[in-house]
Protein backbone atom coordinates (compact mmCIF):
# COMPACT_ATOMS: atom_id res chain seq x y z
CA UNK A 1 0.00 0.00 0.00
CA UNK A 2 1.07 3.58 -0.62
CA UNK A 3 2.65 5.27 2.43
CA UNK A 4 0.71 8.48 2.73
CA UNK A 5 2.61 10.17 5.57
CA UNK A 6 4.33 12.81 3.47
CA UNK A 7 2.04 13.05 0.47
CA UNK A 8 0.96 16.58 -0.36
CA UNK A 9 -2.75 17.33 -0.58
CA UNK A 10 -2.41 17.61 -4.34
CA UNK A 11 -0.73 14.19 -4.62
CA UNK A 12 -3.26 12.53 -2.34
CA UNK A 13 -6.18 14.04 -4.24
CA UNK A 14 -4.82 12.62 -7.51
CA UNK A 15 -4.47 9.15 -5.95
CA UNK A 16 -8.00 9.38 -4.55
CA UNK A 17 -9.49 10.37 -7.89
CA UNK A 18 -7.52 7.65 -9.66
CA UNK A 19 -8.88 5.03 -7.25
CA UNK A 20 -5.35 4.11 -6.12
CA UNK A 21 -6.16 4.75 -2.48
CA UNK A 22 -9.37 5.42 -0.59
CA UNK A 23 -10.05 8.17 1.90
CA UNK A 24 -10.74 5.51 4.54
CA UNK A 25 -7.24 4.08 3.93
CA UNK A 26 -5.63 7.52 4.06
CA UNK A 27 -7.51 8.27 7.27
CA UNK A 28 -6.56 4.96 8.87
CA UNK A 29 -2.91 5.65 8.06
CA UNK A 30 -3.13 9.10 9.64
CA UNK A 31 -4.85 7.74 12.75
CA UNK A 32 -2.21 5.02 13.09
CA UNK A 33 0.58 7.57 12.77
CA UNK A 34 -1.04 9.75 15.43
CA UNK A 35 -1.14 6.67 17.69
CA UNK A 36 2.55 6.00 17.01
CA UNK A 37 3.85 9.55 17.36
CA UNK A 38 1.57 11.62 19.48
CA UNK A 39 2.48 10.25 22.91
CA UNK A 40 5.86 11.95 22.30
CA UNK A 41 4.71 14.87 20.15
CA UNK A 42 1.48 15.87 21.91
CA UNK A 43 0.21 17.75 18.87
CA UNK A 44 -3.41 16.72 19.49
CA UNK A 45 -5.68 17.64 22.41
CA UNK A 46 -8.65 15.69 21.08
CA UNK A 47 -8.63 12.92 18.51
CA UNK A 48 -11.85 12.18 16.61
CA UNK A 49 -11.36 8.77 14.94
CA UNK A 50 -15.08 7.96 14.75
CA UNK A 51 -15.95 11.27 13.10
CA UNK A 52 -12.95 10.88 10.80
CA UNK A 53 -13.82 7.39 9.56
CA UNK A 54 -17.46 8.38 8.99
CA UNK A 55 -16.42 11.45 7.01
CA UNK A 56 -13.88 9.37 5.08
CA UNK A 57 -16.56 6.83 4.02
CA UNK A 58 -18.81 9.68 2.92
CA UNK A 59 -15.89 11.20 0.99
CA UNK A 60 -15.23 7.87 -0.74
CA UNK A 61 -18.88 7.74 -1.86
CA UNK A 62 -18.61 11.30 -3.11
CA UNK A 63 -15.42 10.50 -5.03
CA UNK A 64 -17.11 7.42 -6.55
CA UNK A 65 -19.98 9.64 -7.72
CA UNK A 66 -17.43 11.90 -9.45
CA UNK A 67 -18.35 14.85 -7.22
CA UNK A 68 -15.02 15.28 -5.45
CA UNK A 69 -13.36 18.66 -4.97
CA UNK A 70 -9.63 19.18 -4.40
CA UNK A 71 -9.92 18.60 -0.63
CA UNK A 72 -12.48 15.78 -0.60
CA UNK A 73 -11.28 12.87 1.49
CA UNK A 74 -8.16 14.65 2.81
CA UNK A 75 -7.43 14.01 6.52
CA UNK A 76 -6.70 17.27 8.35
CA UNK A 77 -6.53 18.82 11.80
CA UNK A 78 -7.90 22.02 13.30
CA UNK A 79 -6.37 24.24 15.96
CA UNK A 80 -8.45 23.89 19.10
CA UNK A 81 -9.55 27.53 18.94
CA UNK A 82 -11.83 26.89 15.94
CA UNK A 83 -15.35 25.96 17.03
CA UNK A 84 -16.44 22.47 15.97
CA UNK A 85 -20.06 21.49 16.49
CA UNK A 86 -20.26 18.55 18.88
CA UNK A 87 -16.47 18.30 19.28
CA UNK A 88 -14.88 19.71 22.45
CA UNK A 89 -13.07 22.99 21.82
CA UNK A 90 -10.76 24.00 24.68
CA UNK A 91 -8.41 26.77 23.49
CA UNK A 92 -5.92 24.70 25.56
CA UNK A 93 -7.44 26.35 28.64
CA UNK A 94 -8.81 24.85 31.82
CA UNK A 95 -11.63 27.38 31.60
CA UNK A 96 -12.96 25.69 28.42
CA UNK A 97 -11.82 22.13 29.22
CA UNK A 98 -15.30 20.64 28.74
CA UNK A 99 -16.83 23.21 26.37
CA UNK A 100 -18.69 21.69 23.42
CA UNK A 101 -19.63 24.24 20.72
CA UNK A 102 -23.14 24.11 19.31
CA UNK A 103 -22.02 25.40 15.92
CA UNK A 104 -19.14 25.21 13.44
CA UNK A 105 -16.78 28.10 12.73
CA UNK A 106 -17.17 29.56 9.23
CA UNK A 107 -13.90 27.97 8.08
CA UNK A 108 -14.92 24.62 9.56
CA UNK A 109 -18.23 24.72 7.67
CA UNK A 110 -16.36 25.32 4.43
CA UNK A 111 -13.93 22.45 5.03
CA UNK A 112 -16.83 20.12 5.89
CA UNK A 113 -18.64 21.10 2.70
CA UNK A 114 -15.42 20.44 0.76
CA UNK A 115 -15.43 16.90 2.16
CA UNK A 116 -12.38 17.12 4.43
CA UNK A 117 -11.85 14.51 7.13
CA UNK A 118 -11.40 15.83 10.70
CA UNK A 119 -8.68 13.89 12.57
CA UNK A 120 -8.93 16.02 15.68
CA UNK A 121 -8.17 19.30 17.43
CA UNK A 122 -4.60 20.44 17.87
CA UNK A 123 -2.70 21.69 20.90
CA UNK A 124 -1.79 25.37 21.18
CA UNK A 125 -0.76 28.08 23.60
CA UNK A 126 -3.74 28.87 25.84
CA UNK A 127 -6.10 31.23 23.97
CA UNK A 128 -3.37 31.55 21.30
CA UNK A 129 -1.17 33.57 23.65
CA UNK A 130 2.40 32.40 23.28
CA UNK A 131 5.24 31.60 20.91
CA UNK A 132 6.35 28.17 22.08
CA UNK A 133 3.25 26.11 22.94
CA UNK A 134 4.49 25.92 26.52
CA UNK A 135 1.43 27.91 27.63
CA UNK A 136 -0.98 25.04 26.91
CA UNK A 137 -2.85 24.07 30.08
CA UNK A 138 -2.57 20.46 28.89
CA UNK A 139 1.20 20.26 28.37
CA UNK A 140 3.54 21.46 25.62
CA UNK A 141 3.91 20.21 22.05
CA UNK A 142 7.37 19.02 21.06
CA UNK A 143 9.19 19.73 17.81
CA UNK A 144 9.39 16.63 15.56
CA UNK A 145 12.84 17.74 14.34
CA UNK A 146 14.18 17.63 17.90
CA UNK A 147 11.94 16.68 20.79
CA UNK A 148 13.84 18.92 23.23
CA UNK A 149 12.92 21.99 21.19
CA UNK A 150 9.68 23.98 21.02
CA UNK A 151 7.59 23.75 17.84
CA UNK A 152 6.76 27.46 18.09
CA UNK A 153 3.37 28.85 18.88
CA UNK A 154 0.68 29.47 19.25
CA UNK A 155 -0.39 27.03 16.48
CA UNK A 156 2.39 24.62 17.48
CA UNK A 157 0.18 21.52 17.49
CA UNK A 158 -1.05 22.21 13.97
CA UNK A 159 2.49 22.79 12.70
CA UNK A 160 3.95 19.72 14.45
CA UNK A 161 1.10 17.50 13.18
CA UNK A 162 1.76 18.56 9.59
CA UNK A 163 5.56 18.41 9.89
CA UNK A 164 5.47 14.88 11.36
CA UNK A 165 3.04 13.54 8.76
CA UNK A 166 0.14 13.04 11.18
CA UNK A 167 -2.18 15.33 9.21
CA UNK A 168 -2.04 16.29 5.54
CA UNK A 169 -2.76 19.89 6.42
CA UNK A 170 -4.02 21.86 9.38
CA UNK A 171 -5.57 25.20 10.13
CA UNK A 172 -3.92 27.55 12.56
CA UNK A 173 -4.68 31.11 13.60
CA UNK A 174 -2.31 34.06 13.57
CA UNK A 175 -2.66 37.12 15.81
CA UNK A 176 1.01 38.14 15.95
CA UNK A 177 2.76 35.32 14.09
CA UNK A 178 1.04 32.21 15.43
CA UNK A 179 0.82 30.48 12.03
CA UNK A 180 4.09 31.68 10.48
CA UNK A 181 6.41 31.30 13.49
CA UNK A 182 5.55 27.60 14.17
CA UNK A 183 5.60 26.92 10.41
CA UNK A 184 9.14 28.34 10.31
CA UNK A 185 10.29 26.32 13.31
CA UNK A 186 8.85 23.04 11.97
CA UNK A 187 9.80 23.37 8.29
CA UNK A 188 6.23 23.74 7.03
CA UNK A 189 4.37 26.32 4.96
CA UNK A 190 2.20 28.73 6.95
CA UNK A 191 0.01 31.44 5.45
CA UNK A 192 -1.57 34.34 7.32
CA UNK A 193 -4.16 35.87 5.01
CA UNK A 194 -5.11 39.56 4.92
CA UNK A 195 -7.30 40.46 7.90
CA UNK A 196 -10.88 39.92 6.69
CA UNK A 197 -9.99 37.56 3.82
CA UNK A 198 -11.08 34.54 5.89
CA UNK A 199 -14.11 34.50 8.21
CA UNK A 200 -13.51 34.84 11.93
CA UNK A 201 -16.99 33.53 12.76
CA UNK A 202 -16.53 30.81 15.36
CA UNK A 203 -12.80 31.52 15.79
CA UNK A 204 -12.72 32.04 19.56
CA UNK A 205 -11.59 35.64 19.82
CA UNK A 206 -8.24 36.83 21.20
CA UNK A 207 -7.44 40.11 19.39
CA UNK A 208 -10.30 40.81 17.02
CA UNK A 209 -8.53 43.36 14.81
CA UNK A 210 -5.53 41.00 14.46
CA UNK A 211 -6.82 37.38 14.48
CA UNK A 212 -6.91 35.50 11.19
CA UNK A 213 -7.13 31.77 10.39
CA UNK A 214 -4.99 30.20 7.69
CA UNK A 215 -3.42 26.98 6.41
CA UNK A 216 -0.32 25.11 7.57
CA UNK A 217 0.76 22.69 4.83
CA UNK A 218 3.71 20.80 3.38
CA UNK A 219 3.69 22.66 0.05
CA UNK A 220 2.85 26.09 -1.27
CA UNK A 221 0.34 24.66 -3.73
CA UNK A 222 -1.45 23.00 -0.80
CA UNK A 223 -1.60 26.35 0.99
CA UNK A 224 -3.21 27.84 -2.14
CA UNK A 225 -5.75 24.98 -2.29
CA UNK A 226 -6.75 25.36 1.35
CA UNK A 227 -6.94 29.15 1.14
CA UNK A 228 -9.15 28.75 -1.94
CA UNK A 229 -11.61 26.76 0.16
CA UNK A 230 -11.67 28.92 3.29
CA UNK A 231 -11.42 32.45 1.78
CA UNK A 232 -14.44 34.59 1.07
CA UNK A 233 -17.08 36.82 2.55
CA UNK A 234 -19.10 35.75 5.59
CA UNK A 235 -21.86 38.11 6.75
CA UNK A 236 -21.56 36.65 10.27
CA UNK A 237 -18.15 38.32 10.62
CA UNK A 238 -18.63 42.07 10.21
CA UNK A 239 -14.91 42.59 9.45
CA UNK A 240 -15.04 40.04 6.63
CA UNK A 241 -14.04 41.58 3.28
CA UNK A 242 -16.57 41.32 0.47
CA UNK A 243 -14.14 40.97 -2.43
CA UNK A 244 -13.93 38.28 -5.13
CA UNK A 245 -11.68 35.29 -4.36
CA UNK A 246 -9.11 34.83 -7.14
CA UNK A 247 -7.86 31.45 -8.39
CA UNK A 248 -4.85 31.12 -6.08
CA UNK A 249 -3.42 28.10 -7.89
CA UNK A 250 -3.45 29.76 -11.32
CA UNK A 251 -0.35 31.92 -10.80
CA UNK A 252 1.90 29.15 -9.50
CA UNK A 253 4.10 28.99 -12.59
CA UNK A 254 7.53 28.92 -10.98
CA UNK A 255 8.14 32.23 -12.73
CA UNK A 256 9.21 35.37 -10.84
CA UNK A 257 10.84 37.37 -13.62
CA UNK A 258 9.52 40.93 -13.55
CA UNK A 259 8.55 40.64 -9.89
CA UNK A 260 10.01 43.38 -7.68
CA UNK A 261 10.90 42.09 -4.23
CA UNK A 262 11.92 44.38 -1.39
CA UNK A 263 14.28 43.51 1.44
CA UNK A 264 13.46 45.57 4.56
CA UNK A 265 16.78 46.49 6.15
CA UNK A 266 15.23 46.70 9.66
CA UNK A 267 14.55 42.94 9.56
CA UNK A 268 18.24 42.07 9.60
CA UNK A 269 20.93 42.26 12.24
CA UNK A 270 19.94 43.09 15.80
CA UNK A 271 19.23 39.95 17.78
CA UNK A 272 19.15 37.64 14.77
CA UNK A 273 21.14 34.40 14.81
CA UNK A 274 24.00 34.80 12.29
CA UNK A 275 23.31 31.45 10.56
CA UNK A 276 19.64 32.36 10.17
CA UNK A 277 20.61 35.63 8.54
CA UNK A 278 22.98 33.79 6.19
CA UNK A 279 20.18 31.36 5.25
CA UNK A 280 17.79 34.20 4.46
CA UNK A 281 20.46 36.08 2.44
CA UNK A 282 21.02 32.88 0.45
CA UNK A 283 17.28 32.62 -0.19
CA UNK A 284 17.21 36.20 -1.47
CA UNK A 285 20.06 35.25 -3.80
CA UNK A 286 17.93 32.39 -5.17
CA UNK A 287 15.30 34.96 -6.16
CA UNK A 288 17.97 37.01 -7.90
CA UNK A 289 19.05 33.95 -9.86
CA UNK A 290 15.44 33.31 -10.80
CA UNK A 291 15.26 36.76 -12.32
CA UNK A 292 13.36 38.75 -9.69
CA UNK A 293 14.39 42.34 -9.08
CA UNK A 294 15.68 42.81 -5.55
CA UNK A 295 15.64 46.20 -3.88
CA UNK A 296 16.43 47.28 -0.32
CA UNK A 297 13.56 49.09 1.37
CA UNK A 298 13.04 50.66 4.78
CA UNK A 299 10.23 50.14 7.29
CA UNK A 300 11.41 52.71 9.86
CA UNK A 301 8.80 51.95 12.54
CA UNK A 302 9.51 48.21 12.70
CA UNK A 303 11.07 48.56 16.15
CA UNK A 304 7.88 50.07 17.53
CA UNK A 305 5.48 47.50 16.10
CA UNK A 306 6.08 45.03 18.93
CA UNK A 307 5.34 47.65 21.60
CA UNK A 308 2.19 48.60 19.70
CA UNK A 309 1.16 44.95 19.56
CA UNK A 310 1.64 44.46 23.29
CA UNK A 311 -0.84 47.25 23.97
CA UNK A 312 -3.45 46.56 21.29
CA UNK A 313 -3.61 42.77 21.59
CA UNK A 314 -3.94 42.64 25.41
CA UNK A 315 -6.51 45.45 25.28
CA UNK A 316 -8.61 43.47 22.81
CA UNK A 317 -7.96 40.24 24.72
CA UNK A 318 -9.13 41.65 28.04
CA UNK A 319 -12.45 42.65 26.43
CA UNK A 320 -12.85 39.35 24.58
CA UNK A 321 -12.00 37.23 27.62
CA UNK A 322 -14.42 39.10 29.89
CA UNK A 323 -17.07 36.63 28.71
CA UNK A 324 -15.60 33.74 30.73
CA UNK A 325 -17.61 34.21 33.88
CA UNK A 326 -18.58 30.65 34.79
CA UNK A 327 -22.25 31.16 33.90
CA UNK A 328 -23.04 30.43 30.27
CA UNK A 329 -20.20 28.05 29.48
CA UNK A 330 -16.90 26.83 30.82
CA UNK A 331 -15.48 26.23 34.24
CA UNK A 332 -17.38 27.52 37.27
CA UNK A 333 -15.71 27.64 40.70
CA UNK A 334 -18.16 28.29 43.56
CA UNK A 335 -17.75 31.32 45.85
CA UNK A 336 -19.60 33.03 48.70
CA UNK A 337 -21.37 35.30 46.23
CA UNK A 338 -21.43 35.87 42.48
CA UNK A 339 -18.44 38.25 42.49
CA UNK A 340 -16.31 35.73 44.34
CA UNK A 341 -17.46 33.04 41.91
CA UNK A 342 -16.27 35.23 38.98
CA UNK A 343 -12.91 35.95 40.62
CA UNK A 344 -12.18 32.35 41.59
CA UNK A 345 -13.35 30.93 38.28
CA UNK A 346 -11.01 33.26 36.40
CA UNK A 347 -8.08 32.69 38.77
CA UNK A 348 -8.33 28.91 38.55
CA UNK A 349 -9.40 28.79 34.88
CA UNK A 350 -6.78 31.03 33.27
CA UNK A 351 -3.06 30.25 33.11
CA UNK A 352 -0.26 32.70 33.89
CA UNK A 353 0.25 34.15 30.42
CA UNK A 354 -3.47 34.73 29.89
CA UNK A 355 -3.71 36.49 33.26
CA UNK A 356 -0.67 38.62 32.37
CA UNK A 357 -2.27 39.76 29.14
CA UNK A 358 -5.68 40.41 30.66
CA UNK A 359 -4.06 42.54 33.37
CA UNK A 360 -1.83 44.34 30.89
CA UNK A 361 -4.85 45.15 28.72
CA UNK A 362 -6.92 46.23 31.69
CA UNK A 363 -4.07 48.47 32.85
CA UNK A 364 -3.60 50.04 29.41
CA UNK A 365 -7.31 50.85 29.17
CA UNK A 366 -7.81 51.96 32.79
CA UNK A 367 -8.63 55.53 33.78
CA UNK A 368 -5.72 57.93 33.24
CA UNK A 369 -3.72 55.60 30.98
CA UNK A 370 -5.91 55.34 27.87
CA UNK A 371 -4.27 58.24 25.97
CA UNK A 372 -0.73 57.30 26.98
CA UNK A 373 -1.02 53.67 25.93
CA UNK A 374 -4.01 52.60 23.86
CA UNK A 375 -4.55 55.78 21.81
CA UNK A 376 -0.80 56.16 21.34
CA UNK A 377 -0.58 52.56 20.10
CA UNK A 378 -3.43 53.10 17.63
CA UNK A 379 -1.57 56.11 16.24
CA UNK A 380 1.70 54.22 15.92
CA UNK A 381 -0.31 51.52 14.17
CA UNK A 382 -1.00 54.10 11.47
CA UNK A 383 2.76 54.75 11.15
CA UNK A 384 3.50 51.02 10.80
CA UNK A 385 0.79 50.70 8.15
CA UNK A 386 2.14 53.72 6.23
CA UNK A 387 5.65 52.18 6.23
CA UNK A 388 4.26 49.17 4.38
CA UNK A 389 2.18 51.32 2.00
CA UNK A 390 5.31 53.27 1.06
CA UNK A 391 7.27 50.04 0.49
CA UNK A 392 4.49 48.52 -1.61
CA UNK A 393 4.40 51.59 -3.84
CA UNK A 394 7.85 50.47 -5.02
CA UNK A 395 7.84 46.66 -4.76
CA UNK A 396 5.35 43.77 -5.15
CA UNK A 397 6.30 41.86 -2.01
CA UNK A 398 8.91 41.81 0.76
CA UNK A 399 11.43 39.10 1.69
CA UNK A 400 12.40 38.74 5.35
CA UNK A 401 13.15 36.19 8.04
CA UNK A 402 10.12 34.76 9.85
CA UNK A 403 11.95 34.39 13.18
CA UNK A 404 15.26 35.63 14.62
CA UNK A 405 16.40 32.09 15.54
CA UNK A 406 15.70 28.43 14.93
CA UNK A 407 13.54 26.47 17.40
CA UNK A 408 14.77 27.14 20.94
CA UNK A 409 15.00 24.57 23.76
CA UNK A 410 11.84 23.85 25.76
CA UNK A 411 12.00 25.86 28.99
CA UNK A 412 14.56 28.41 27.76
CA UNK A 413 12.27 31.45 27.73
CA UNK A 414 9.48 30.51 30.11
CA UNK A 415 10.82 32.63 32.99
CA UNK A 416 11.03 35.82 30.96
CA UNK A 417 7.80 36.82 29.19
CA UNK A 418 9.42 39.79 27.46
CA UNK A 419 12.19 37.60 25.99
CA UNK A 420 9.45 35.29 24.64
CA UNK A 421 7.60 38.24 23.09
CA UNK A 422 10.75 39.25 21.21
CA UNK A 423 10.61 36.03 19.17
CA UNK A 424 7.63 37.59 17.33
CA UNK A 425 9.52 40.72 16.29
CA UNK A 426 9.38 39.95 12.53
CA UNK A 427 5.83 38.64 12.38
CA UNK A 428 3.88 41.10 14.55
CA UNK A 429 4.15 44.14 12.20
CA UNK A 430 2.19 42.24 9.53
CA UNK A 431 -0.80 41.78 11.87
CA UNK A 432 -0.57 45.39 13.04
CA UNK A 433 -0.82 46.48 9.38
CA UNK A 434 -3.51 43.88 8.58
CA UNK A 435 -1.65 42.61 5.50
CA UNK A 436 -0.76 39.05 4.41
CA UNK A 437 2.40 36.96 4.69
CA UNK A 438 3.60 33.39 4.20
CA UNK A 439 6.46 31.48 5.79
CA UNK A 440 8.18 28.75 3.75
CA UNK A 441 11.15 26.44 4.44
CA UNK A 442 14.35 28.30 3.48
CA UNK A 443 17.02 25.93 4.73
CA UNK A 444 18.42 24.38 7.89
CA UNK A 445 20.70 25.48 10.71
CA UNK A 446 22.03 22.75 13.05
CA UNK A 447 19.47 20.38 11.55
CA UNK A 448 16.59 22.72 12.42
CA UNK A 449 14.40 24.47 9.85
CA UNK A 450 14.59 28.19 9.03
CA UNK A 451 11.60 30.09 7.65
CA UNK A 452 11.60 32.70 4.89
CA UNK A 453 8.78 35.19 5.23
CA UNK A 454 7.20 36.73 2.14
CA UNK A 455 5.01 39.72 2.94
CA UNK A 456 2.31 41.02 0.59
CA UNK A 457 -0.10 43.90 0.06
CA UNK A 458 -3.66 43.79 1.42
CA UNK A 459 -5.34 40.98 -0.56
CA UNK A 460 -1.96 40.26 -2.19
CA UNK A 461 -2.09 36.52 -1.47
CA UNK A 462 -1.71 35.60 -5.16
CA UNK A 463 1.63 37.40 -5.38
CA UNK A 464 3.17 35.94 -2.23
CA UNK A 465 1.98 32.44 -3.16
CA UNK A 466 3.53 32.84 -6.60
CA UNK A 467 6.84 34.00 -5.14
CA UNK A 468 6.79 31.26 -2.48
CA UNK A 469 6.05 28.56 -5.04
CA UNK A 470 8.92 29.63 -7.30
CA UNK A 471 11.40 29.33 -4.42
CA UNK A 472 10.00 25.97 -3.38
CA UNK A 473 10.29 24.66 -6.95
CA UNK A 474 13.89 25.91 -7.25
CA UNK A 475 15.08 24.39 -3.96
CA UNK A 476 14.72 21.08 -2.12
CA UNK A 477 14.03 22.26 1.42
CA UNK A 478 10.34 21.34 1.33
CA UNK A 479 11.13 17.72 0.50
CA UNK A 480 13.06 17.21 3.75
CA UNK A 481 11.13 15.72 6.66
CA UNK A 482 12.02 15.06 10.27
CA UNK A 483 13.40 11.60 11.06
CA UNK A 484 10.66 10.41 13.39
CA UNK A 485 12.24 6.95 13.56
CA UNK A 486 14.84 8.55 15.85
CA UNK A 487 12.22 8.77 18.60
CA UNK A 488 9.20 6.68 17.61
CA UNK A 489 8.59 3.08 16.62
CA UNK A 490 7.48 3.66 13.06
CA UNK A 491 8.71 2.36 9.73
CA UNK A 492 10.30 5.29 7.86
Amino acid sequence: MIDSAYLTVGEAAALLRGGEISSVELTQQSLRRIEQLDSELHAFLTCTPDVALMQASEADRRIARGEAGPLTGIPMALKDILSTRGVRTTCASKILESYVPQYDAGVVERLRQAGCVLLGKTNMDEFAMGSSNENSAFGPVRNPWNLDRVPGGSSGGSAAAVAAGEAMFALGTDTGGSIRQPAALTGTVGLKPTHGRVSRYGLIAFGSSLDQAGPITRSVRDAALVLQTIAGHDPRDSTSINAPVPDYGAGLSGEVRGLKLGVPKEYFGGGMQAEVEATIRAAIHVYEELGAEIEEVSLPHTDYALSTYYIISPAEAMANLARYDGVRYGLSVPGEDMWEMFGRTRDVGFGNEVKRRILLGTYALSAGFYDAYYLKAQKVRTLVRRDFEAAFSRVDALLAPTTPSVAFPIGEKTDDPLEMYLSDVYTVPINIAGICAISIPAGFVQGLPVGLQIIGRPLGEETILRAAHAFEAATEHATRHPDVTAWAAVAS
Binding site: T194, T239, A322, G326, K355, I358, L359, R385, P417
Partner: protein
Protein backbone atom coordinates in the same frame (compact mmCIF):
# COMPACT_ATOMS: atom_id res chain seq x y z
CA UNK B 1 7.27 53.03 35.14
CA UNK B 2 7.15 50.29 37.77
CA UNK B 3 3.76 48.71 38.40
CA UNK B 4 3.58 48.15 42.14
CA UNK B 5 1.71 45.43 43.97
CA UNK B 6 -1.25 47.70 44.78
CA UNK B 7 -1.69 48.64 41.13
CA UNK B 8 -1.66 44.97 40.15
CA UNK B 9 -4.26 44.25 42.84
CA UNK B 10 -6.45 47.13 41.61
CA UNK B 11 -6.23 46.04 37.97
CA UNK B 12 -6.91 42.41 38.96
CA UNK B 13 -10.04 43.55 40.75
CA UNK B 14 -11.19 45.43 37.65
CA UNK B 15 -10.55 42.27 35.61
CA UNK B 16 -12.34 40.08 38.19
CA UNK B 17 -9.41 37.74 38.81
CA UNK B 18 -8.75 36.76 42.45
CA UNK B 19 -4.97 36.57 42.53
CA UNK B 20 -3.00 34.84 45.26
CA UNK B 21 -0.35 36.93 47.10
CA UNK B 22 2.55 35.21 45.29
CA UNK B 23 0.88 35.91 41.94
CA UNK B 24 0.64 39.62 42.83
CA UNK B 25 4.40 39.75 43.48
CA UNK B 26 5.36 37.95 40.28
CA UNK B 27 3.01 39.99 38.12
CA UNK B 28 4.28 43.25 39.56
CA UNK B 29 7.80 42.40 38.35
CA UNK B 30 6.72 40.99 34.98
CA UNK B 31 4.26 43.73 34.07
CA UNK B 32 6.79 46.41 35.02
CA UNK B 33 9.35 45.07 32.55
CA UNK B 34 6.75 44.77 29.79
CA UNK B 35 5.41 48.29 30.38
CA UNK B 36 9.00 49.61 30.31
CA UNK B 37 9.42 48.12 26.87
CA UNK B 38 6.10 49.49 25.69
CA UNK B 39 6.92 52.98 26.94
CA UNK B 40 9.33 53.35 24.02
CA UNK B 41 6.36 54.52 21.98
CA UNK B 42 6.75 57.90 23.73
CA UNK B 43 9.82 58.52 21.55
CA UNK B 44 7.50 59.03 18.58
CA UNK B 45 5.71 62.29 17.85
CA UNK B 46 2.18 61.28 16.92
CA UNK B 47 0.31 64.56 17.45
CA UNK B 48 -0.64 64.84 13.78
CA UNK B 49 -1.22 61.12 13.22
CA UNK B 50 -4.78 59.75 13.16
CA UNK B 51 -5.33 56.47 15.01
CA UNK B 52 -5.94 53.25 13.08
CA UNK B 53 -8.71 51.35 14.82
CA UNK B 54 -8.85 48.77 12.13
CA UNK B 55 -6.27 47.84 9.56
CA UNK B 56 -8.63 47.45 6.60
CA UNK B 57 -10.87 50.50 6.01
CA UNK B 58 -14.51 49.54 6.33
CA UNK B 59 -17.90 51.27 6.50
CA UNK B 60 -20.49 50.31 9.05
CA UNK B 61 -21.78 46.86 8.25
CA UNK B 62 -25.53 46.48 8.57
CA UNK B 63 -27.84 43.61 7.80
CA UNK B 64 -31.41 43.53 6.60
CA UNK B 65 -33.89 43.78 9.46
CA UNK B 66 -35.39 40.35 8.90
CA UNK B 67 -36.61 38.01 11.60
CA UNK B 68 -34.65 34.75 11.54
CA UNK B 69 -34.86 31.71 13.81
CA UNK B 70 -32.47 31.71 16.75
CA UNK B 71 -31.08 28.75 18.67
CA UNK B 72 -33.38 26.49 20.66
CA UNK B 73 -33.02 26.84 24.46
CA UNK B 74 -31.39 23.40 24.73
CA UNK B 75 -28.49 24.49 22.52
CA UNK B 76 -28.09 27.82 24.33
CA UNK B 77 -28.06 26.11 27.74
CA UNK B 78 -25.99 23.08 26.71
CA UNK B 79 -22.79 24.40 28.33
CA UNK B 80 -24.32 26.11 31.37
CA UNK B 81 -22.77 25.26 34.75
CA UNK B 82 -26.11 25.68 36.55
CA UNK B 83 -29.58 25.91 35.08
CA UNK B 84 -33.14 26.02 36.31
CA UNK B 85 -35.54 25.00 33.58
CA UNK B 86 -34.75 27.19 30.61
CA UNK B 87 -32.75 29.72 32.64
CA UNK B 88 -29.10 30.17 33.61
CA UNK B 89 -28.81 30.10 37.38
CA UNK B 90 -26.47 32.46 39.28
CA UNK B 91 -26.17 33.41 42.92
CA UNK B 92 -28.18 36.36 44.20
CA UNK B 93 -26.66 39.71 43.19
CA UNK B 94 -28.73 41.84 45.59
CA UNK B 95 -29.33 41.05 49.26
Amino acid sequence: MPIDRDTVAHVAELARIDLRPDELDDLSVELSSIVDHIARLRELDTDAVPPTAHAVPMENVLREDIVAPSWPPEAVLANASHRVGDLFEVQAILD
